[in-house]
Amino acid sequence: MQLRNIARDFTRENRSTRAIDDVSLEVEEGEFVAIVGPSGCGKSTLLRILQGLIPPSAGQVLYRKVPQAGVNGDMAMVFQGFALLPWLSVRDNVALGLVARGPSALDIDRTVSFYMVKVGLEGYEEAYPRELSGGMKQRVGLARALAIEPRILLMDEPFSNLDALTSVTLRDEVLMLWKDPEMPVRTIVMVTHIIEEAILMADRVVVLSRRPTRVVREIPVDLPRPRNRKHPDFERLSDEIFSLIS
């Protein structure tokens, strides 16, 4: 997957502003890439351009070396605010993306059950979002994204709406799912403003600048997994990224 010289302009009161400028990025299959940058730098916009939800103003998105047209069906998104439908049960929320793709009811049922088990939601089938903690809501968001069996999972600040302890657990579980051979997802691109989260999870951290957004640096994270914040190189990487952002 490749972003080539991507730009994105926004128009307000007849004035065009360049929000993202000349961003190029390559993501290999099997990689976990974290994109970090200051608030409002367009990280989430970049993720939507990657998925084909928003067209770039300039540049090209290539998927498997072919220019991408429209929304990429091999990608699914996990949202910061969970994006659950409150009037649907957990099971129906997980099935949502699948139903739109039109498989048989039996296939939907089988797939939904499989991913609910995988993310630990078995037992919550008939619960409604209002009955769930934030952590459980995000598990539903994760199961819904996984149920369409994407090859690439895009995560937009997935832990930002959770308390610190719940975030620790969910990060751990996302990494377990990424390494699970039964999961079709091989590649993850995550946007976050939390430097520590990026280093804890990703193989590579892409640091973005303030607007107009550019890639400041790409930093490989070679620390052994599971990662520990007390590793001497953790703080060094953290400081390096912080100095690039601030």
Partner: protein
């Protein structure tokens, strides 16, 4: 912030606490842990007591340390964690009693109102609403209990 405040401690927060303790080498000073996690004392104690009730931590004096079972749950995958929590819940008095009440009921199901009055009668020191919320949430996580909001009924989860 989603997920808080809640009248019970979510399982994800308990496992998060265990992970943090593991990073600290398996133990910590309780006061320092609260500072590190930016938790108010009451909130910290609620989480710690919940973890202790499940047998995952010990709290000798003013310290907190992982038990062997606390270390074990961190080595397990997502569903292995659920299975271990299920085992642990079956050792906690309120879960033992709830399973008995439901086991004797028609279709292994009781109304929320009935369960709350039984909690009030048999666990007079518990806050009834918090205890019920814990039964529903921990019970669902462990696939031990189910709850239908539409029918306002708690039931034994036999799978489907």
């Amino acid at each position: 912030m989603e997920g808080e405040p809640e009248p019970y401690t979510g399982i994800s927060r308990i496992i998060g606490l265990l992970k943090i303790l593991q990073e600290k080498g398996g133990s910590s000073d309780l006061y320092q842990l609260g500072i590190d996690l930016h938790l108010e004392l009451g909130e910290e104690l609620q989480i710690v007591r919940s973890a202790e009730s499940l047998g995952f931590v010990d709290t000798p004096e003013s310290d907190i340390s992982l038990t062997p079972m606390g270390e074990e749950i961190l080595r397990k995958d997502i569903n292995g964690r659920k299975a271990l929590i299920r085992e642990r819940l079956l050792t906690i008095p309120i879960f033992i009693r709830a399973m008995e009440w439901l086991g004797k009921a028609a279709e292994e199901s009781l109304s929320e109102e009935t369960v709350k009055s039984l909690i009030g009668e048999q666990f007079p020191n518990e806050d009834v609403d918090s205890a019920f919320a814990m039964l529903v949430n921990w019970g669902r996580y462990a696939e031990l209990l189910g709850y239908s909001a539409a029918r306002e009924e708690l039931y034994i989860d036999r799978g489907s």
